[in-house]
Amino acid sequence: MTRKQKRLTMIGAIGAVLMAAVLLIMFALRDEIVFFYSPTDILTESKARPGERFRLGGLVKEGSIEKSGETVRFVITDTEHEMPVTYVGILPDLFREGQGVIAEGSLSDAVFSADTVLAKHDENYMPKEVADTLKEKGVWQGEEAVQ
């Protein structure tokens, strides 16, 4: 091979790999990203398509947790609107009433069916998305706790 041919082979091969990576990224970004919504987003603006996976965030409504066996039902509220959630499995240790929570799953018959529930990692810490939502709603109280 001449020098030019060698260089072309190299550039062609590298270009092909980069193209493949770009296509994979575009494909994955179209289908595999998960949006974060508050109950208000869903109920008043119906932002989620039916069956779409998304993250629902807000506060666990006081007195809303019901457990029957390994199934848990609770309500996520952003203080304006609220949405019932079902979840099968073990809740995080810091899942509590009145605390911030993020649930991931999809909507079926006006009930959010979650397969993952994330709570905070320690008592100073609120998931950032939830904190932002609560600030928008003007009910944020955690400033001093976050330092």
């Binding site: 790999v17 990576a21 994979l24 994955a28 950032k128």
Partner: protein
Amino acid sequence: MINELGHFALVLAFALSLVQSVVPLAGARLGNQKLMAVGSSVSTGMFVFTLLAFASLTSAYVTSDFSLENVWANSHSAKPMLYKVTGVWGNHEGSMLLWVLILAFFGALVAWFGSNIPAQLKANVLAVQGWIAAAFFLFILLTSNPFARLSPAPFEGNDLNPVLQDIGLAIHPPMLYLGYVGFSVTFSFAVAAMISGRIDAAWARWVRPWALTAWLFLTAGIAMGSYWAYYELGWGGWWFWDPVENASFIPWLVGTALLHSALVMEKREALKIWTILLAIITFSMSLLGTFLVRSGVLTSVHAFANDPERGVFILMILMLFIGGSLTLFAVRAPLLKAGGLFQPISREGALVFNNVFLTTAAATVLVGTLYPLVVEALSGAKISVGAPFFNITFGPLMIPLLMLVPIGPLLSWKRADLYPALQRLFWVAGLALLAVIVTLALTSGEPVLASLGIGLAVWVMIGSLAEIWTRAGIGKASAASTFSRLTGLPRSMWGTALGHFGLGVILLGVVTVSVFEQESVAEVAPGETIGIAGYEIAFQGMTPVTGPNYTETVANLSVTNPSGGVFALKPAKRVYQARGMPTTEAAIRTIGFSQLYISLGDVSADGKLVIRAWWKPLVTLIWIGAIFMVAGGMISLTDRRLRVGIARRARRTVAGKQADALS
């Protein structure tokens, strides 16, 4: 008093870093030996003073001196001694102090062990280390002072986040930082070489041991972090594609590429520009990781309480160093002459292939990690990019790379024939195919991809040993000559084989646990059982236990294995008194390479308990593979060819020719 000394030592270390930033550089410019030599003594001094500051903070933690705000916020007098010590870096300020301590340590190492590096290059390297140190000392002193006082001093502290009260905190952050920060040395070498303008094969030979050292600590740190998250967080996941995990994984991918491209540069003087660029990018990614973790822009387990001021400061450091080094690169790179030529099919070609795939994979992980930030900044929409994205993008890019792993080392430098290499791997391919067929037969109904994955793992594992196998003439030469050939092989060859073997082991673990994992959740009353993978787990009741700074309720589980043997497992729910924070302690039983993993949910009013059990087949291979990789790295590091020195060059070339003649 000790605290003030610590603070003062930190200020002195900052002052010394300023001296180190300027004096050796001026010496190198003017050709003044004395000024250049200042770099070595100053970097030793800087390390000593940083160590002093770190020791002061540690002593405040050990004696529970709550007059320090940092100790008050993160420690407790009843905390076990191990966690008092490790708690030093279990918070933002302390972990930044550990970061600069390790930075100063690496600077001192260059000063101590760099006697064979040309004085001018060494002076420049130390000066660049000085710039990085100065920036981070300033960051600590201005925004994250660990020695800030409280008056009056509280009687009791707030305790350390219980999730961090674990032996993992003693190992994971120091290892990870040794890796992250270790790449500062290769960065400094790259910048120093561009300043002095001398970039050749010798440069790669000096840099490789540092890159290898940083790489093996980073590998160990990531693996340790993965196992820690696996057993501590109680979800049984070993990798979450969490932004902060990615922040350490991106430098690892680029650093691995750097290790391979520096090899080409050392042996053939090719890929010079690319290797320099990789050295810059690797440390830039480490800095980016530090920024992502320490600024709190991302939601993560690693985000301690943060304020935006710090984020902006680190962002400025980040832009200064990445921007500065890339500008220098843009000016200098066109002046470099292209080195050795090679055909696309050759050892060099294979290593280029490796680099293309590793850096592209690193770029996809970077895109996935930063995409939510970009989207939120542009449109305000909040999104998360999780495991599915990375599985789709990262996975396919790894497959061709893994397929090439056994072939690359069998190709000769400069120009190679693919066919003889493939011929030697013929029987390995046979074994891999056999593995595919056996898996298919044993697991009817499971996805075909799983058995292909296992076949690929077998191909990588056994194929990695093929080079050693053929070089030693196993099966062809007599036993005695085989043995003498085996012991005569360069250690770096053993290192390569072990490292690649470890990669195959990891793949085997990942594929098996991802596809064949079983999970079972049930609510049980005392006396009831749940079954998983042939194991019967009987719940026998709860026992309250009091620990040093927590109380826990332990679930007594009696597990019957498929052959009738019985063992006890005791997962627990803990409440740490100081923060009133509950945690779950999972119980894990290792059976062969597999694990039975049991986590607890809540106890209901009528005494029923939710148990979540996983059967994780071959899961430990993920970390055992990482141990193989680290071992491979360590063996390579002891190779005499990596022990820097031009004097050994002649001998090396002869040995190299002999090795080539053998193949």
